[in-house]
Assembly symmetry: C2
Homo-oligomer: 205 residues x 2
């Protein structure tokens, strides 16, 4: 066997992520991770000191991917949108596009999985979860502020709630899509959010 363990490490993380989203962290055993990753205990505990360390690393990796997706689509929206409103609409549209391609119901969001088992994790992990949501709030809120700065009419709006609503709709759509076993739910729900934003500022225009 090669002396490069990074593949093994990745396979462990991939297996664990899939299992957490299917069975929860508490319902996922190390033994099962090992089986699914096709390795042995020695390899597992070489890469991760404890199951808890795996949980932390898994969240860090997901957080990095999430952050990247957020920033990437934000920058694309900034390039593609002609004004502040268009930028937000494009931003949402990009996510719609991404989720429209899925056939299987999206496996789910690791944040949500952890939050529904919050007491299994330490305070630091829970802070990480909170700040992840606040990051989305911040970016969306920034885009909304830009719209209001350009067009005015922000007085009648709860901009924080409107910013949160993107995440809210996404998280809720993941759950609903799984529950009714229909992957199309996600893109369609994001479409409703986009339409809401459109309507809000078209009316206030």
């Amino acid at each position: 066997m090669p002396r490069d363990g990074s593949q093994t490490r990745t396979r462990i993380l991939d297996a664990a992520e899939a299992l957490v989203l299917e069975r929860g962290y508490g319902g996922m055993s190390v033994e099962r991770v090992i089986r699914q990753a096709g390795i042995t205990k020695g390899a597992f505990f070489y890469h991760f000191k404890t199951k808890e360390a795996l949980a932390r690393t898994l969240l860090e990796r997901f957080d990095a991917m999430d952050r990247a997706a957020l920033e990437d689509n934000h920058q694309r929206a900034v390039r593609l949108g002609s004004d502040a409103l268009q930028r937000l609409l494009v931003f949402v549209g990009l996510f719609e596009e991404a989720f429209a391609e899925l056939e299987q119901p999206y496996p789910g969001c690791l944040y949500a999985a952890y939050i529904y088992e919050a007491k299994l994790f330490d305070a630091d992990t829970q802070r990480t979860l909170g700040s992840s949501f606040l990051r989305w709030r911040g970016v969306l809120r920034g885009m909304l502020d830009d719209i209001v700065a350009e067009r005015g009419g922000g007085e009648a709006l709860d901009l924080e709630a409107l910013a949160d609503m993107f995440t809210v709709v996404l998280e809720g759509a993941f759950i609903t899509a799984k529950a009714v076993d229909d992957a199309s739910v996600i893109a369609r729900q994001l479409g409703e959010y986009r339409k809401y934003v459109e309507l809000l500022f078209a009316a206030g225009r």
Copy 2:
């Protein structure tokens, strides 16, 4: 000791529900349920043959409460609303009212907790979860159809998505409220949904 075990049974279910929402089903041990309920193993396994049986009963109880809340608020909305649009707006408003009173972030939805650990449960349980979501979809869809029947203009709308969006927003709001530790999120998100419906049919008017 009294011979009426219904209190004990209820205490087991209450403890289990709280624990599932804090730690997930897989992260909840029978031992812990026993401790929290202040009973012993004998009592537990007298009332529930297995841990799985507890899970089923817990879901049945939650489902019954959920169904009751849905039907109750639906009927109240029917009585209070002057036309179809008002009925839906009142319906959403009633839930806003209920969640606005909460100080603590709502403990969460048992459906969502189960769905994020779906593979731990049998096919029958998963069907129950699906039909619970479809029940909400059905009621909301019915109210939306009524609005369209009265006012027209339903061609441009995805009524199914709009119906689902109530549940989607609620589920997403539960998660977000816990993540950012702010109970006000739930009522405010429902407020946004109500405003969206209002705007959609005010514009189409």
